[in-house]
């Protein structure tokens, strides 16, 4: 325990360096801005802005992106409440009660409730994170290639078993992501493979950022252009210091719900397929069923704002736990952060806690600070963010496209990647319209190289016996859970059918 405290203090020394502190403040503000824009969430912000972070060292870069991640979780609530349109999918549940509150003139109260609940959720989850991460990393240090591969299978299996999307389309998304990660030079023999028609641009492989910016930058903007054709009305927020102080007073009433949402969100957030969106929806559901007056939910009950907002912030921290300790991202946003670490020259996984203590603990400490700054900036600048909502999308969209173009070029300095990004964006957008989930593909292209290496090494060690994965003490249970999750939806379909025919 003392160890952790010492490391955390060391982390604060790094996070509070002037440059890093500035990055936290700017990151929170940018994140709030991105979160408040309808349609854009943390994953879009992190994907589009990752190339910008090459300016600072890795620790500063991840601190900045972590602050964006947090800020966006706060910001999502702003447009949910003021427009009735979720600022990001993670803030869907916030519209249920936030919008009715705004319509009856309590927009400021809803915003303050959302901000304070986010703060509590963020803080509880960072404390949990601080306590869980080091022991988990210790356990993970003992993992061999078989365990690594089993963990990745488990991560993908959660998409099938818990994702709730169309099953063959989810499988497809995982496979295509993995195949794309295999393009380039074969890691073992060094031979080129899948370099379609000897296009030299494929020799350096498909950078995950090309896919991420394509889907979460270009694809997302096209999606928003299509869906946001209709006009929207912005609610008026009457923000005075007195009313904000009043808002804080109601915090006591929602505290129990907030704490519940925080714990729920944190643990749901750890699972790769679940994360902030289902976490916040579940928290909303639980809050309603535990409430004394469930009927008041959906009509502007502050608890209905507090629960999902606490949960989505907690989930974003939760998703960082497996990313840092195991090298398996807990959400699409952390998948992009993980890919970023590879670009910065760090090897994700438990070794980070030994080789790059400053990086890990600087990040953890920065999350405490980001949480506080996001709260302050959020409440202090509510009028500014309401103004953001009135910005015409036709001004913002082209600027984001330009940022995607430059951002797609910069990591490899190759126009080939920009073309590829454009194709991924358009095709990804069309596939998304047909219910193909995109997150599994992004996770797969990030994890692909590691998955292939660990599988091949495991097979070489066992001279081709794949069942060794099921026999080792840690990878065995992991594989069994993974297989169970893969098979679960099939069992459910058959079960439903039998029930129907029985009727």
């Amino acid at each position: 325990m003392g160890d952790i405290l010492g490391l955390l203090l060391g982390g604060f020394a790094i996070a509070l360096e002037p440059t890093n502190l500035m990055l936290i403040v700017v990151g929170c503000a940018v994140g709030l801005f991105i979160g408040a824009m309808p349609g854009l969430g943390s994953v879009n912000g992190v994907a589009i802005l990752l190339p910008v972070t090459f300016l600072v060292p890795p620790t500063g870069a991840i601190i900045f992106l972590g602050a964006i991640y947090y800020g966006a979780m706060y910001g999502g609530a702003i447009s949910s409440i003021m427009l009735g349109i979720p600022g990001a999918s993670t803030a869907v549940a916030t519209t249920f009660d936030g919008r009715p509150m705004a319509l009856r003139g309590d927009a400021d109260k809803a915003l303050v409730t959302a901000a304070t609940a986010s703060f509590v959720g963020g803080t509880i989850s960072v404390v949990l994170f601080t306590l869980f991460a080091p022991p988990l990393a210790d356990v993970a240090l003992a993992f061999g290639t078989a365990e690594e591969f089993a963990l990745m299978c488990l991560a993908f299996a959660t998409f099938i078993g818990l994702g709730g999307d169309d099953i063959p389309k989810t499988f497809f998304s995982i496979f295509i992501g993995l195949v794309m990660s295999a393009v380039g030079l074969d890691i073992v023999s060094g031979q080129p493979r899948l370099i379609f028609g000897d296009i030299t641009g494929f020799l350096h492989g498909i950078n995950f950022l090309v896919l991420a910016i394509g889907i979460y930058g270009i694809g997302e903007m096209l999606w928003t252009i299509e869906t946001s054709q209709k006009g929207v009305t912005v609610s008026q927020a009457n923000v005075t210091l007195k009313r904000i102080v009043e808002g804080f007073k109601t915090m006591g009433a929602t505290l129990k719900t907030t704490v519940m949402g925080s714990f729920l969100g944190y643990f749901v957030g750890i699972l790769p397929a679940a994360g902030a969106t289902p976490g916040s929806l579940m928290a909303y559901g639980v809050a309603r069923s535990l409430a004394k007056d469930p009927a008041s939910f959906g009509k502007g009950n502050p608890e209905g704002v507090a629960a999902p907002e606490a949960a989505n912030n907690a989930a974003s921290t939760g998703s960082m736990l497996p990313m840092l300790t195991l090298g398996i991202p807990g959400s699409p946003t952390t998948a992009i952060l993980l890919g970023g670490m590879v670009i910065w020259g760090l090897e994700p996984g438990p070794m980070l806690f030994i080789d790059h203590q400053g990086f890990v603990w600087g990040l953890i400490a920065s999350l405490y600070a980001a949480n506080l700054f996001a709260l302050i900036i959020n409440i202090a600048f509510i009028p500014a963010f309401v103004w953001v909502l009135k910005l015409p999308f036709t001004l913002l969209a082209p600027l984001i496209f330009v940022l995607c173009l430059v951002g797609g070029f910069v990591p490899t300095l190759d126009m080939h990647d920009v073309w590829l990004m454009l194709i991924f964006g358009v095709v990804g957008y069309l596939m998304r319209k047909l219910d193909y989930p995109m997150a599994p593909a992004v996770l797969a292209i990030v994890l692909g190289p590691l998955a292939e290496t660990s599988l091949r090494q495991t097979l070489i060690q066992s001279s081709g016996d794949i069942f060794v994965l099921f026999q080792r003490p840690i990878s065995g249970p992991l594989m069994f859970i993974a297989v169970a999750l893969f098979v679960w939806p099939l069992v459910k379909i058959l079960w439903d059918r039998r029930k129907q025919t029985a009727k």
Partner: protein, 165 residues
Amino acid sequence: MRKADLIMALAMGIFSIYLMWKSAELEIGWIDEEGPGGGAFPFWLSAGMLLCCIWIIVRWVRRETEVSRSLEPFMEAGAFRLVAVVVIALTTMVGLTHWIGMYLSIPLFLLFYLRVLGRHSWLQTLSTALLAPVVTFLFFEIALRKTLPKGITEEWFYPLYDIFM
């Protein structure tokens, strides 16, 4: 929607067969002392993609999913036109970059988007279109030291290099 669902599954099915064929250029079986060949991983995954496509088509035939039942158009005509214009503008911007470089293609794209699609005032349009490349240059070229493609405009930047580099 129903038609689009089938077309996408068929296209992706064909694409996976192509990927399998390309992967098979490397050894896809077991090599003694070396483990699985370099083509094995992508080959079997592409095979998985193909299976998924077949599965999707089977579900399409039996109308098991929502999209496969939906008779609504894939896109409304107005939305389609808007998205198509944006995609064409983007493609043009990327294409032009090879020839006239980013510092001309970006303002042209912004000019078109803001003025024609956004109907913003000339003041807003021009200030954004001129400011964007300047900020891009200062941030990426000066601060990050990443050279962006300039095409035929390369010469124009020599005086700037003299000042900043």
